[in-house]
C-alpha cells in the first residue's frame, strides 16, 4: 500500500502538478458552485430572459435567445463534469477488471479478452458514440455508458500490461501458496501495485471524456437545450462570435483550462510512476 502514496507524493512535489491541480480546482469549483452562484450573482436563472438576443447587457452579454451568458456559463459545467467523471469511472473500472483478469489468468481467456478488445479498439470512439446516440436518441445515461464502454478496452490494455509485469513477483507467489482465492489476489495484491499506470490512465480518460461530452453537446447530440452546457453554448453562440464573443469564449476557456489542468496532473503522475520504476530497477 505504500507504493501508491509514494507515487502521489512524488507527483505532487513536481511544480507542473501544482499548477495542474490549481487549474483543475478552479474549474471544478466553478462548475460545482456555479449553478447556485449564478442566480445569486446576476439575478437571472439559466433559462430566464435578460434582454434581446446578443446584446451586451450584464457581465458577458446575452445569448441567442436573450438569456444571460454569465449565468449560463456558471451553470454549464456541472452536467459536463458529472457525465465526464461517471464515464471515466465506468471505463476505468471495467477496463481494469478485464485487463487484470486477462493479464493474471493468461492463456485462452487472455487471448479471448484481448482480441475482443482489439476489435473494439478499431472503432473510433466518437464515431461509436454517434452511432449509439443516433439509434437511441440523446440521453444522459447513454452518453455516459457509451463513452465509458469505449474507454474500457484502452484502459484494459494498460492494466493487462501492468498486471503481467507484477504477476510473477514473490508476494503474489506467496499469496498463491496460501491458496488465496483469485479475486482476493487481484484486489489485495495486484491492484495496489499497478495503481501508478492506472492513475495515469484515469487522468487521460478523464481528459478525453470531457472532450467527448463537450463535442457531442456541441454537435447537438449530448446535453439538450434549454439546459445550460458549455459544449452546447459554443454551438448556440458561435454565429455571434464577432459581436458577443463571451458566449463562446468563456466555455472554450473553461474546457481548455480543465483539460490542460487534468493533463498536467496526469503527466506528473506518469513521470512519478516512471521514476519509481527506475528506482526499483536500480
Amino acid at each position: 500500500m505504500t507504493t501508491q502514496s509514494t507515487v502521489f507524493r512524488r507527483a505532487l512535489s513536481l511544480p507542473q502538478a501544482k499548477i495542474g491541480l490549481a487549474l483543475t480546482a478552479v474549474v471544478v469549483l466553478l462548475a460545482v458552485l456555479g449553478p447556485w452562484l449564478g442566480p445569486w450573482l446576476t439575478g437571472y436563472d439559466t433559462t430566464g430572459f435578460a434582454g434581446k438576443p446578443f446584446q451586451s447587457d450584464g457581465v458577458a452579454g446575452t445569448d441567442g435567445l436573450g438569456r444571460d451568458v454569465f449565468t449560463r456559463f456558471l451553470a454549464g459545467g456541472a452536467t459536463l463534469l458529472l457525465y465526464a467523471v461517471l464515464a471515466t469511472a465506468i471505463g476505468v473500472v471495467l477496463g481494469t477488471a478485464l485487463g487484470m483478469l486477462a493479464g493474471y489468468t493468461g492463456g485462452r481467456l487472455d487471448s479471448l479478452i484481448m482480441r475482443g478488445n482489439d476489435v473494439l479498439l478499431s472503432f473510433p470512439q466518437l464515431v461509436f458514440a454517434l452511432l449509439a446516440i443516433a439509434m437511441l436518441g440523446p440521453q444522459g445515461w447513454l452518453l455516459v455508458l457509451v463513452i465509458g464502454i469505449t474507454h474500457a478496452p484502452r484502459v484494459a490494455r494498460v492494466a493487462r500490461q501492468a498486471t503481467v509485469a507484477v504477476k510473477d513477483s514473490d508476494y503474489i507467489k506467496a499469496a498463491q501458496l496460501y491458496a488465496m482465492p483469485r479475486r482476493r489476489i487481484l484486489l489485495r495484491e495486484v491492484l495496489p501495485n499497478i495503481t501508478g499506470p492506472l492513475m495515469v490512465e484515469l487522468g487521460l480518460r478523464l481528459t478525453y471524456s470531457i472532450g467527448y461530452v463537450a463535442s457531442l453537446s456541441f454537435l447537438g447530440l449530448g446535453i439538450q437545450p434549454p439546459s445550460a452546457d458549455w459544449g452546447l453554448m459554443i454551438n448556440e453562440n458561435r454565429i455571434a462570435l464577432v459581436v458577443e464573443p463571451w458566449g463562446v469564449l468563456l466555455p472554450v476557456l473553461a474546457i481548455a483550462v480543465l483539460t490542460v489542468g487534468t493533463n498536467l496532473i496526469t503527466d506528473s503522475l506518469a513521470s512519478a510512476a516512471a521514476g519509481r520504476e527506475k528506482e526499483v530497477a536500480a
Binding site: 433559462t47 434581446k52 438576443p53 435567445l65 478525453y208 439538450q224 434549454p226 472554450v252 476557456l253 481548455a256
Partner: protein, 518 residues
C-alpha cells in the same frame, strides 16, 4: 485513433489556445467601415449585380415549374413570369396577361395576353404557348409543383388571337389567386430545360448546379427601361457565416436571409444596408384537435393565453416581427382585424386548465430546425408555460425526421407557412382533405362557412362569411399563431432599387429587374 497519440493531444491544446487568442481580434475588426453615399436620383443602367442566396445543391434546376430551394426560386423569378403575380404589397399584378376576368358563375376565367410581349428569343407569346405551359404543369405522369392547387382546372383553350380561357370543373372565386404563383411561369410550346426561355427580365447565360448562375439582360423585356443591370450573378451559399462574410468582404453586393440576431450588427456598419420586410410568414405551434388533451377546447384556449407574444417576438426574432392573433392571412382584405388582440393571461389559463381537469398539465412539444427561429420559439414557449404551471418537454428532431412518416400525426408540434390569402391557406392546411392539415381541424360550422365563401361571387357577402370563419378559428382553432416573421436581407450601400416585399420571398421577392448600382 489518432486522438490517442501524444502529439495530437498537444496540437489540440495549442489549437484551443490559438482559438482563444484570435477571437477578441475578430471582434475588434468588426466595426471598420469606409463611408460610401447611398445612390439617389433616377436609376442608372449597367453593371453586374452579384447576389448571395441561401441553400441550393446538386439538385438545383432551371426548370420553371419545380423550384424547390431559395436559389431555384430566385432563378425562376428572374427568367420566367406567370400570367399574374403578387406585387410588393401583396396585391395581384398582371404580368404576361394584361387582364384576367371571371364569368358570373366563377367557372370560366379569361386571360388576355399582354400586347407585344415576347420571349427571350424574340418570338411573341401566343395562346398556344400558354396552353402548352399548363399541359406541362398538369402532366398526369409528371405533375409539377403548381398542379396541386389547380385541381379544379378542367381545360385551357384558346379564345382568339390573344385570349385564353380557363374552364373549371367547379366554381372558384379565387382562381386568380391560385394562378398568381411564381412556379407557373409561361414558356414557349417547344420549351426544354436545355434552352430555358421565358418572358422574364433576364435570360440564362451560364448555370452550374449547386454553385452559381449568370444571367444577362433581356433586351425584349416588356417593361420599358428594365432591368437596369446588364448581368445578374446568383451564387449559392450553404452557411450563414460564409454568406455574411462574403457581404462584409464585398465579394457579393446583396445577400438574402440575415440571421435576425445579427441585424443590429450589420445595421451599425456604414457600408451596408439592412432590408427588413413585414411578411405574412408565420411559425405556429400546432395542437391536434382530435387528440387529448388538446381535444378539450379549454386546453387549447389556455395554451394560447400562456404565450407572451411580445416576448416571443423579442427573444426569438430580436424584435423583427409583428405579434399574431391566432389568425393567419394578415394581408387578406377579409382579415378579421376587429377581433381583440389576445395577450398573456396566466390566471385565466390556470383557471381553464383546472376546469378541464389538467391543473398540472405535462405535454411534449415536437420541434425541429424547420425554419430559423423554430427551435428557439419552442424554448421560449417552454419557459413561458412554466409560469402557468404547464410542463413542456421538448423533443428535438432533425428536419428530415420531423417531416418524415410521423409528420401530420404529432400531437403538439410546430410548422411554418409563407404569406397566403385566407382561402388558399385554408385549402392548404385547414380542410379535412387539405394536404397539410396539421391540427386535424374539421369543424363542421367552419367548413360550411368556407365552402359557401368559395362559391360566393359577391365580395361583401364573401368577406362576411370569411370573417365568421376566422372568428371560429380565433375561438377554438388548433394553431397558436404568436407572430409574423420579418424577412431580413442585407446589401451594399451602393445598391439601389430594393424595396420591402410582403410575399415572404427575400430581397424584394427576388425581383432584381428593379435593382441598380450607384
Amino acid at each position: 485513433m489518432s486522438f490517442d497519440k501524444r502529439i495530437s493531444r498537444r496540437n489540440f491544446l495549442v489549437g484551443s489556445a490559438v482559438l482563444a487568442g484570435t477571437a477578441p481580434l475578430l471582434s475588434a475588426c468588426g466595426g471598420r467601415s469606409s463611408a460610401v453615399a447611398a445612390p439617389t436620383g433616377a436609376p442608372r443602367r449597367g453593371g453586374t449585380l452579384r447576389v448571395g442566396v441561401t441553400g441550393g445543391g446538386a439538385s438545383d434546376t432551371l426548370d420553371p415549374h419545380i423550384p424547390a430551394t431559395s436559389p431555384d426560386i430566385a432563378r425562376v423569378r428572374n427568367l420566367y413570369e406567370p400570367l399574374l403575380y403578387r406585387d410588393h404589397d401583396y396585391r395581384l399584378e398582371m404580368l404576361v396577361a394584361e387582364s384576367l376576368t371571371s364569368s358570373p358563375d366563377a367557372k370560366t376565367w379569361t386571360a388576355t395576353l399582354r400586347e407585344g410581349i415576347r420571349f427571350h428569343d424574340g418570338r411573341p407569346v401566343t395562346p398556344a404557348d400558354v396552353i402548352a405551359t399548363f399541359r406541362r404543369i398538369m402532366d398526369p405522369d409528371d405533375p409539377k409543383s403548381g398542379a396541386a392547387s389547380l385541381t379544379m382546372l378542367g381545360e385551357v383553350v384558346a379564345a382568339g388571337e390573344r385570349r385564353v380561357e380557363f374552364r373549371l370543373t367547379e366554381p372558384s372565386t379565387v382562381f386568380d389567386d391560385y394562378l398568381a404563383q411564381y412556379s407557373l411561369g409561361i414558356v414557349p410550346a417547344d420549351f426544354s430545360v436545355d434552352r430555358p426561355i421565358g418572358t422574364g427580365p433576364f435570360r440564362a447565360k451560364d448555370f452550374t448546379a449547386g454553385l452559381q448562375s449568370t444571367f444577362v439582360r433581356n433586351e425584349h423585356y416588356w417593361r420599358p427601361g428594365q432591368p437596369y443591370v446588364d448581368e445578374l450573378v446568383l451564387i449559392n451559399f450553404a452557411e450563414d457565416d460564409a454568406r455574411i462574410n462574403a457581404l462584409l468582404s464585398s465579394q457579393v453586393d446583396v445577400i438574402d436571409q440575415v440571421p435576425v440576431a445579427l441585424v443590429e450588427v450589420l445595421r451599425s456598419d456604414e457600408r451596408l444596408r439592412v432590408l427588413s420586410s413585414q411578411t405574412g410568414t408565420w411559425l405556429p405551434f400546432t395542437m391536434r384537435v382530435d387528440r387529448p388533451p388538446f381535444d378539450d377546447v379549454r386546453v387549447r384556449q389556455a395554451l394560447r393565453l400562456v404565450v407572451d407574444r411580445e416576448q416571443m417576438i423579442n427573444q426569438v426574432l430580436s424584435g423583427q416581427g409583428r405579434v399574431g392573433n391566432d389568425l393567419y392571412a394578415p394581408f387578406d382584405p377579409a382579415y378579421a382585424s376587429e377581433l381583440p388582440q389576445r395577450g398573456q393571461n396566466l390566471a385565466e389559463a390556470r383557471r381553464l386548465l383546472a376546469e378541464a381537469g389538467h391543473p398540472n398539465l405535462d405535454i411534449e412539444l415536437v420541434t425541429a430546425p424547420i425554419q430559423a427561429g423554430a427551435v428557439e420559439a419552442a424554448q421560449v414557449f417552454q419557459q413561458q408555460a412554466k409560469a402557468a404551471g404547464v410542463t413542456v418537454r421538448l423533443r428535438r428532431l432533425d428536419t428530415t425526421t420531423f417531416f418524415g412518416e410521423n409528420y401530420l400525426s404529432w400531437d403538439f408540434a410546430q410548422s411554418f407557412w409563407y404569406t397566403r390569402n385566407y382561402l388558399p391557406q385554408v385549402a392548404n392546411g385547414s380542410l379535412p382533405d387539405s394536404p397539410y392539415n396539421e391540427t386535424h381541424w374539421s369543424d363542421p360550422e367552419f367548413l360550411d362557412l368556407v365552402r359557401r365563401a368559395d362559391r360566393t361571387v359577391d365580395r361583401a357577402e364573401r368577406e362576411d362569411l370569411l370573417k365568421r370563419a376566422q372568428r371560429i378559428e380565433y375561438e377554438r382553432g388548433g394553431n397558436i399563431i404568436w407572430g409574423f416573421v420579418n424577412q431580413v436581407d442585407a446589401y451594399q450601400v451602393y445598391v439601389a432599387g430594393l424595396v420591402p416585399d410582403r410575399t415572404g420571398l427575400p430581397l424584394s421577392g427576388y425581383s432584381f429587374r428593379e435593382a441598380w448600382l450607384g
